[in-house]
């Protein structure tokens, strides 16, 4: 892992990681590495060396749906890459208004989970909570669909996400009853306690691990701005 990210900038990094992860799932064949986000040393987030560059403040504003300008010098010096990056960002944002089909829901879920994993990896309290669970895996899926993701702890010491396998082999599992429930969860609009009780969200396996990830997801929900729908 590179230098630790200051806690106050974690929300920016989590949002950027979430967006990039969504793109990866939406455009599996696109050369996305060119717009991979990086956090600048003191202020700013850059989507690739030639893509859009935002100050922390502008990026947070943009996430909240307010008008925010990227760095104009970058746009003018790399107009094609900037426009390409902008198109992708707009496509990701559109998922927060309309999202249907397995591919889009998987992408939306993956983006939401990536923000949680950023906190699981870098937020001191969240990381400490999971310190005893590093041999564990979490399966996340949508019932009766091919959407199935797996959270695991990789060999370099980070929580990561990949397309999943059968939930029974995971340490614990979460299954959304429908696309709609998965969408609401990704948008941060699902009441998890109500959903668990009414069967909209089915949990199984080592429930304490589900609770930990649920708790971290609520920290993320509180701290990381969600695009307005």
């Amino acid at each position: 892992m590179s230098d630790p990210i200051p806690v106050e900038r974690l929300k920016i990094w989590a949002a950027a990681q979430s967006i990039y992860r969504t793109m990866e799932f939406l455009f599996p064949d696109a050369p996305l590495k060119k717009i991979k986000p990086s956090l600048l040393a003191t202020d700013g987030i850059s989507f690739g060396a030639c893509g859009l560059l935002f100050s922390d403040f502008a990026f947070l504003k943009a996430l909240s749906g307010e008008f925010a300008l990227p760095d104009l010098k970058r746009v003018l010096s790399h107009p094609v890459q900037s426009i390409e990056c902008l198109k992708r960002l707009i496509r990701v944002k559109s998922l927060h208004g309309l999202c249907k089909g397995a591919k889009e829901i998987r992408a939306l879920l993956a983006g939401s989970i990536e923000a949680i994993l950023t906190y699981a990896n870098l937020h001191p309290y969240s990381r400490a909570l999971l310190s005893v669970d590093q041999h564990s895996t979490i399966s996340i899926g949508v019932a009766n669909t091919p959407v199935n993701l797996l959270i695991y702890f990789d060999t370099v010491g980070c929580w990561k996400l990949k397309q999943g396998s059968a939930k029974e082999s995971a340490t614990c599992s979460l299954e959304f009853k429908s696309d709609e429930v998965a969408r609401l969860a990704s948008w941060g609009q699902l009441d998890p306690w109500r959903a668990v009780a009414d069967g909209s969200l089915i949990i199984g396996g080592q429930v304490p691990l589900v609770e930990k990830f649920g708790y971290i997801s609520r920290i993320v929900q509180r701290e990381v701005p969600q695009p307005r729908r």
């Binding site: 668990v196 199984g204 429930v207």
Partner: protein, 407 residues
């Protein structure tokens, strides 16, 4: 199983209560869509949920009920006390009577104090130990539950880094690790707080190794550390005189609650004479803690425990029941083991570390009206009759068949 009423009330609850139902009875902690969300009434070893489904109960209000729901002797005593009142400006004489009864019953106890919840007194007992020793650190077993306060609660929110800065943990039965902790914090450990045996949730229960309690007691004596027994869950279910008698050791302080009042909220801490003065110096109070009704229930409950030899009875009932349930499972190639002490057994399926199988099995049982919790030790009620056991086994047979077919 119909759950319409339960669900309607839960929806109402979600609007006005965070999480709808919180804590250990929150839906997510058990079988969210299989167990009822609300209870209506209970008697003996059965309860009826809000939708009118009758369940054979194996949780006893998570241990709060030992002599059966609505035990007539306790309810009669409670009804009489209610005609006089519950809370007054000053305590009632029941407080003295109850303390005398506990001091007589628990061999090492020379005084007793009372509160409402187990946590009230586990946290207070740590402070008494700190007052006595002038030390700061407390050692507990990893994964053990001692209450809802920030030094030990199993929740995740509302913590600050200092909450647990003086709490050390070791793995149950690992005396080397315990020794190391004590050596590392030489003359700084005020107390070791432990349950009689390790009955953590989401894990099979672990009994103490043969030398465990002797070693722990020896260590605490040698290092001037208070040994606090959290007997909240086990109290009354292992031995009439406290669970330390079952495992043959003697603590300095012990805390009881749950079964003490047979469903009426009360907790007690008893201690040896050495801890009497420190106990007097650690502030303890609560507006409703001198509740004469709950104390009356506790007095009657303790009397019944002695008269009916309840600890021995529930141990024997549990032993018979666990034996038959395991045999039933074995006949269907289900490797079910009832771990821990038979009066409060924890169900474990061999090879099921991630708990999917026990969850599936308990779901099948729930469909037959058996309240078998997949993640928490069960409690055998002394009101459990032969008919209840026979009914349970008949229903379990159907449920185990369903489960075996689903494999």
């Amino acid at each position: 199983m119909i759950r319409k009423q339960s669900e309607e009330w839960f929806n109402r609850a979600c609007n006005v209560i965070p999480g709808g139902i919180y804590g250990h009875v929150s839906p997510g902690a058990s079988l969210p869509t299989n167990f009822p969300l609300y209870c209506h009434s209970a008697k003996g070893a059965r309860f009826v949920d809000l939708d009118g489904n009758e369940w054979v109960d194996f949780m006893c209000g998570f241990g709060a009920v030992l002599h059966g729901y609505l035990n007539p002797r306790i309810e009669e005593a409670v009804a009489q006390q209610k005609t006089k009142g519950a809370i007054f400006n000053q305590p009632s004489t029941q407080m003295v009577e109850l303390a005398e009864l506990l001091v007589e019953r628990v061999d090492f106890a020379q005084w007793a104090v009372f509160a409402k919840n187990g946590s009230d007194l586990t946290s207070w007992a740590l402070r008494v130990a700190r007052e006595k020793t002038g030390r700061e650190y407390v050692i507990k077993a990893r994964g053990a539950y001692h209450g809802v306060d920030s030094w030990c609660d199993p929740g995740l929110g509302g913590r600050i880094s200092s909450d647990r800065s003086h709490i050390l943990e070791f793995s149950w039965n690992n005396l080397d690790e315990l020794n190391l902790l004590i050596r590392e914090k030489l003359d700084q450990v005020a107390a070791i707080i432990l349950t009689p045996y390790h009955h953590a949730s989401f894990a099979q229960s672990e009994l103490p190794d043969p030398d465990f309690w002797n070693e722990v007691r020896d260590l605490t004596h040698r290092h001037g550390i208070a040994l606090i027994l959290d007997d909240i869950r086990c109290g009354g279910r292992l031995h009439l005189g406290g669970s330390h008698r079952y495992f043959e050791f003697s603590p300095d302080l012990a805390i009881y609650s749950k079964a003490l009042g047979n469903g009426y909220a009360i907790s007690a801490c008893v201690g040896s004479d050495e801890y009497r003065l420190p106990a007097a110096d650690v502030f303890l109070t609560g507006s409703c803690w001198n509740d004469a009704v709950a104390m009356t229930a506790a007095i009657e409950s303790l009397k019944i425990s002695a008269a009916d030899r309840v600890a021995e009875s529930v141990l024997e009932k549990g032993k018979q029941f666990c034996f038959q349930l395991e045999a039933l499972a074995r006949s269907r190639q289900i490797p079910l083991q009832m771990t821990g002490i038979p009066s409060m057994p924890y169900p474990w399926i061999e090879g099921d570390e991630n708990l999917y199988q026990i969850q599936a099995l308990c779901k099948c049982c729930a469909s037959q009206g058996l309240y078998f919790h997949p993640h928490h030790n069960w409690f055998i009620s002394n009101a459990m009759s032969e008919v209840d056991v026979a009914t349970t086994l008949q229903r379990a047979e159907v449920a185990f068949d369903q489960f075996a077919e689903s494999l």
